[in-house]
Amino acid sequence: MVDMASPMDIPAERPKRAWAATLRTAFGYRRTRIGAAITLAILVIALAGPFLAPYEPSAFISKPFAKPGAEFWLGTDVRGRDVLSRLLYGGLAVVWMSVAAATIGMILGASVGMLAAYSRGWLAEVLMRVMDVFLALPTIILVLMVVSLLGPQKWLVVVLVGISHMPQVARVSQGVAADVAGRDFVLFAEALNVPRWKILLREILPNIMTPLLVEYGIRIVWSIAGIAALSVMGYGIQPPEADWGLLINENRGRLATRPLPVLAPAILIALFALGVNLMAEGLSATISGVARKTGAK
């Protein structure tokens, strides 16, 4: 623990290369590589899909629930629209919305958590108690409550899902930031009268980046589940837009006889969440002392 280097050198113990090293170790795990490959594939489908779709996503081109064949590879949906085209168009919204919601949750939560860890005392207590109040309202319930008044708008869903992430992110970042806040280089910066916000941003934040990145991954996974679930229930993305969750909502009535229009988007949503989760797992294994906690690769 005793650091013999002069205090001036200590902030330099976290150069940019430490970052690259962490990522390299993370990619040493098979789960990280598999997760990255799956996520990349889903991103390609979501981003390039609209350019590859054979039909307009909301064009009524056949009778409802036509069987898959040469003309419509995956058949048609409840209204006679091409399932493949709706799939290819339907990934973009859930991708950007879940990443945006997780980002909002991270910014809010990490700010609160770091502030609480660094200020301690009554401010920390108040901040974390307020977080407990938000924690008592699960994502979907919070969104449903507000959406019932303001209507299901995309930005609203994104902001609300982001807010619902805030307490968990705050807890995690408070935990890791509290460890850093007592370290030598922070005390040294304090002794030099460096402003508090500068210490938070320049000394504490860079040192908790990896655990925050793991949390970011987990938050994206939860956002995907929450946002897709809202669309499945009819309170997320609205018709006639093409969206994976909405596809499940529209076609679940014929799940017994025509499972494909439900299963295909369900599998894509699951793969997206799975891919991001595997990457978060890999990164988290890097932190928790490699094989000690997680065992197998």
Binding site: R31, R129, V130, D132, V133, F134, L135, A136, L137, P138, T139, I140, I141, L144, M145, V146, V147, S148, L149, L150, G151, V221, I224, A225, A228, A229, V232, M233, G234, Y235, I248, R252, L255, A256, P259, V262, L263, A266, I267, I269, A270, A273, L274, G275, V276, N277, L278, E281, A291, R292, K293, T294, G295, A296
Partner: protein
Amino acid sequence: MLWRTIGLRLLLGVVTVLAVTVLIFAATNVLPGDAARAILGRAATPQAVAKLQAEMGLDRPLVVQYLSWLGGMVHLDMGRSLVTRGPVVDLIAPRFGNSLILLCITSAIVLPLSLATGIAMALTKGRGFDNIANTLLIALAGIPEFIVGIVLIVLLSTQVLSVLPPTSMVPSGQTVLGNPQVLVLPVMTLVLAILPYLSRLVRSALIDAMASEYVVTARLKGLPERQVIVRHALRNSLLPAIQASALSLGYILGGAVVVEFIFQYPGMGTALRDAVGSRDLLVIQAVVLIFACGYVLFNLAADVLSIIVTPRLRG
């Protein structure tokens, strides 16, 4: 000292619930788009809106409205549904019962199962069972619960086998307990949603405990391995397991909304979903409040339990 700590924790729980009520009330009253207009729609005349506002007591000061709402909640008088015109409590009570049944059966299965799986994984760390179970559970952990539900429907009630009903609707006047087959798929879905999280947590807590000094000491004392695991390691890995169980139960409350929807299970989640569809504000407020209270209660129970099993937290 022990009672004082627990008492403080209880007080904190009450304060949290009160703050939640303020939040719910604020969200449903201060936000633009008031209840009367929400019910009547955009085309309503100002006179009609004003009349309904008076009828619902919306013309009173907000503080008065809040206090009368809160007072009602305490006495289980949740007002009248704006849609059915019947008391909200009559509408919610049977749904609450059904959700409680789902919660109890799920936790009765998933808590022991996760504990057993986690212990088995920790004891075979890095070998056969652990490797297979860990890989499966990591994969399962990322998949949203409603998709697990859809896949189960496809596998067990429509395409592959058709042994179970795909939906959990029961004829009116009957309970889910009278139709136990409708419980199987929702319970399975929730168990599969929680198992990966909880069992892996038990696993890592136990592995940490096994490597700790007191376990090493117990071994050096010559205690049989069985006793070392049960008396020392397991006991000390109980704490994170209790906290995580509370979080899981709280999660069932929220996650169950979607699972209930997928199976059309007649519980609180479906009630909430329907109330949002018809903008039945008082039902929404009541359901959200019950969910929040449940969450606070689970965490309170976990905290109290943790204080009891861990002497050093009694401080």
